[in-house]
Assembly symmetry: C2
Homo-oligomer: 162 residues x 2
């Protein structure tokens, strides 16, 4: 199907993000298991639950647009998760692995910040305010998760890894 | 080689970013070609030149650490670029493709913001101030590029795509 306007592109991007989020829910359990720090395990567990709510929000956006819920293979998130899996296979001291896992998770977060930032701009420019509200809520959550991970790294995890 | 401390992880991450940057220099020419807007072509061209300077900076960081310059396959950037290539193969009106290319480029930028943000934190915590200066300069450039792309999308490109 040809992408003839911003509406088409908006839908295309939503499908990409939907697939990305689904991949994240499958990747997080292994990251929770690989983490040693209880704080980090909890942060990943909380993010898994948050991701489920973000998927619900995306489903509501599809509904608002009168479109069926569907994903389109997100090769970028596939690559980010592959890199994360490869990191988890490295031989590393537990504290160093925790620091590495934060690096992986922040790459995931920043992909989402870029992707949600993009669809928020589209929704705004298309005057789709209800969709914008939902997407913007998630964008803010992703930014907060990224900041939480930075603070965890700086205050505790990286210090232990040093 | 086992990752036993933050120094090991720092080097590991630098190799990942080095490979990511190299991939970006290979991907940008196709994006310049795929763009229709002269402003966007120029932005991508400028970023290509900036990326070359960022690679030089990374090489200086390896030198400061007394390590040979080397990359380690960055599967995440590979995925992000694959997604971008797949987008360029979509049938799309020229204005819509321009908007889509900005979305792709911002995913690249955000990967770099996450990756450079991570190594800046490591360099700071390891007291490697000369390396930190170099990496921080690049981090700021990536953030500025991301903001430039947002502004280009909001002011011109997405408006035409609508």
């Amino acid at each position: 199907m040809k992408l003839t306007n911003l509406n088409d592109l908006f839908l295309h991007e939503l499908k990409d993000i939907y697939h990305a989020e689904k991949q994240i829910t499958k990747a997080l359990p292994a990251m929770i298991k690989a983490a040693s720090s209880e704080q980090l395990k909890t942060a990943f567990q909380d993010h898994l639950e948050m991701t489920e709510r973000q998927i619900d929000r995306l489903e509501r956006v599809f509904e608002l647009l009168g479109q069926k819920v569907s994903g389109e293979k997100c090769m970028a998130m596939e690559g980010i998760i592959k890199e994360c899996e490869s990191m988890m296979k490295e031989k590393a001291d537990a504290d160093v692995m925790d620091a590495a896992l934060i690096g992986c998770a922040q790459r995931v977060e920043h992909y989402e910040i870029a992707a949600y930032g993009t669809v928020c701009t589209y929704a705004k420019q298309l005057g789709l305010n209800d969709a914008l509200d939902l997407l913007h809520t998630t964008l803010e959550e992703e930014k907060q998760t990224d900041m939480l991970l930075t603070s965890l790294a700086e205050s505790t995890i990286n210090v232990r890894a040093r």
